[in-house]
């Protein structure tokens, strides 16, 4: 905690991670679970993006007249990839949900357990 108030960020991201995990674990609706998963994912992305920031820094684009320090470009590139992976998984999961609805008539985990 000696790091100053900006650690507050990390605490907020942990809270978001836990809210997402709560939705994944406790909610029965599959669409809702997927929303929870997305919240978890963005919280980790936010953690990584924030870890690359720098005091008084700007975007890592070199240009004339910019002498402020740059935020690290590396985490940004990683998270760009991460966002694409996240949307890929979301698309597939939604397709599975549509298929489950078609085959079983419901997308509530409680009822699906009974139907198996």
């Amino acid at each position: 905690m000696d790091g100053g108030w900006q650690h507050l960020d990390y605490f907020a991201f942990v809270a978001l991670f836990c809210i997402g995990l709560y939705v994944v674990l406790a909610k029965s609706n599959l669409v809702k679970k997927l929303l929870g998963l997305n919240i978890m994912e963005t919280s980790v992305f936010a953690f990584i993006v924030t870890s690359g920031m720098v005091d008084g820094g700007t975007a890592p684009v070199v240009g004339p007249g910019i002498d402020a320090p740059f935020a690290s470009p590396l985490p940004h590139a990683l998270i760009l990839t991460g966002i694409v992976v996240a949307v890929s998984i979301t698309a597939l999961a939604l397709a599975l949900i549509v298929e489950i609805k078609r085959q079983c008539g419901t997308i509530e985990a409680d009822e699906l357990k009974g139907a198996e």
């Binding site: 905690m1 790091g3 650690h7 990390y10 005091d55 890592p60 740059f70 690290s72 470009p73 397709a95």
Partner: protein, 239 residues
Amino acid sequence: MRRLLTALALAIVGAVMLAGLAGLPRPGDPAAPVHTHVAAHIVAHGVEDTGSRNLVTAVLLAYRAYDTFGEVVVIFAALAAVMVVLAPAAAPPPGKTAPPPSPAPAVAPSPVVGFVIRLLAPFIAAFAALVLWHGEALPGGGFQAGVILGALLVLLSVVMGRGLEQPLVPAAAARWLQAAGPLAFAAAMLIGLAGAGAVLGLPAEPAWGRHAVLLLLELGIGLGGAAIILGLYLQMRGH
């Protein structure tokens, strides 16, 4: 009981994460390893190494191009995954006949909306081209441009798609476009091998060579991304 267990698990996870993260360097500290090691090298040499003033682009398309290659295959795999899950099965499973898939409720856009979207379409397309073209100098790049273009195609298919079953792009051409990202990277691999002596390297000669490679990658990522987003939309909407 179950709620209690969930709450307990969450409390433990949260506490462990907080305890661990509290020991990290303060975010924003310019002396943190995040800024002094690899990032410092990229900031110092990125422009000269890659010719791209946007260092995120330099990382994505040069230093870590192999990861970005994986990324474009992941989004292609998402399309393949949605197709493999939702493409119609030939026969319904024996025993229980499944009801036909219910298509998403058709949105009936008002004529005004349709007119506005058609009017805006060329401008949105131009904006996408701008985002792609300036990926080396400004924030943005191929993927962002691709998503904007994909969104435009989705809008157009909302406007024109009602009752019109033929897609915006012929199906055979769409298959090739959807592979554009990996194809561009395959080309860049061979160019790098021939021109820079390393797979995915940037050729030093001729002078415009590395710009051409970066632009090729941006184009492939952008066109491929747009085609895949349109494909995902059409498949998820149902026929």
